[in-house]
């Protein structure tokens, strides 16, 4: 089963949480070791910094996961729409696709698509896709 996060992101989350928690513990330990309010306020700030670090790490983690989910959702919607679109095959040759239009790409785009992919329909495309492009996740050419 896959996850919306990469290993690198998981490591960052752990790091942020652990560092934040450590700063919190350090702040508590420091504050309880002295009776001088001025010194304690310094430790209070250390603990607050720990909260901020942990909070930021967690928020970034969530945002990243949210973005992954959204991107995949968009891709699947596009794919679903393409599948549900009225088939153009009757107007094409009996073979499933014409070789010249098997794969198209947008100028400057990083991906190549089926000609029927919603992401290229209506746009100027080229059949010269080269070797550097990656297949579109939506239409899976």
């Amino acid at each position: 089963m896959t996850l919306p996060w990469r290993v690198g992101t998981v490591v960052s989350l752990y790091l942020a949480t652990v560092v934040g928690g450590a700063l919190l513990v350090a702040g508590w330990y420091g504050a309880s070791g002295t009776g001088d309010v001025g010194a304690q306020l310094v430790w209070l700030n250390v603990a607050a910094l720990g909260l901020i670090v942990a909070g930021t790490g967690n928020v970034v983690w969530l945002l990243y996961g949210h973005r992954s989910v959204r991107a995949r959702q968009r891709a699947l919607v596009a794919r679903g729409m393409e599948l549900a679109a009225p088939p153009r095959r009757p107007t094409a040759s009996p073979t499933s696709t014409t070789p010249t239009a098997l794969r198209v790409a947008i100028h400057g785009g990083a991906r190549f698509h089926r000609p029927t992919c919603p992401l290229v329909v209506g746009k100027r495309t080229t059949a010269r896709i080269g070797t550097k492009r990656i297949p579109c996740e939506a239409c899976r050419p």
Partner: protein, 93 residues
């Protein structure tokens, strides 16, 4: 047993509840400590160990909860992906 299986699958949601409960307990204990003394020198350690740690735990629990939801969504997307692939294969063949 079903419960074990459910727990395994939903471990992050269970962890979220546990962590949030722990955070609430920490906040309560911290409040009890803060109200037990009139001097900031005695209160500040409680503010940190009760208040800030409690907030930290609550935040962590919230993160776990949202992660659980995101993973559920991702699972749904997995299913959809499989179905679409099956559909696509079916249409093309």
């Amino acid at each position: 047993m079903e419960l074990i299986g459910w727990l395994r699958a939903q471990w992050d949601r269970v962890a979220a509840w546990v962590v949030i409960a722990a955070g609430a307990v920490a906040l309560l204990l911290g409040w009890w400590g803060v109200s037990g003394s009139g001097f900031p020198a005695q209160q500040i350690p409680y503010v940190i160990s009760g208040g800030m740690v409690g907030l930290f735990l609550v935040g962590l629990g919230g993160m776990l909860w949202l992660s659980a939801d995101l993973r559920d969504e991702w699972r749904k997307l997995d299913e959809l992906d499989q179905r679409l692939t099956a559909l696509a294969d079916g249409t093309e063949s």
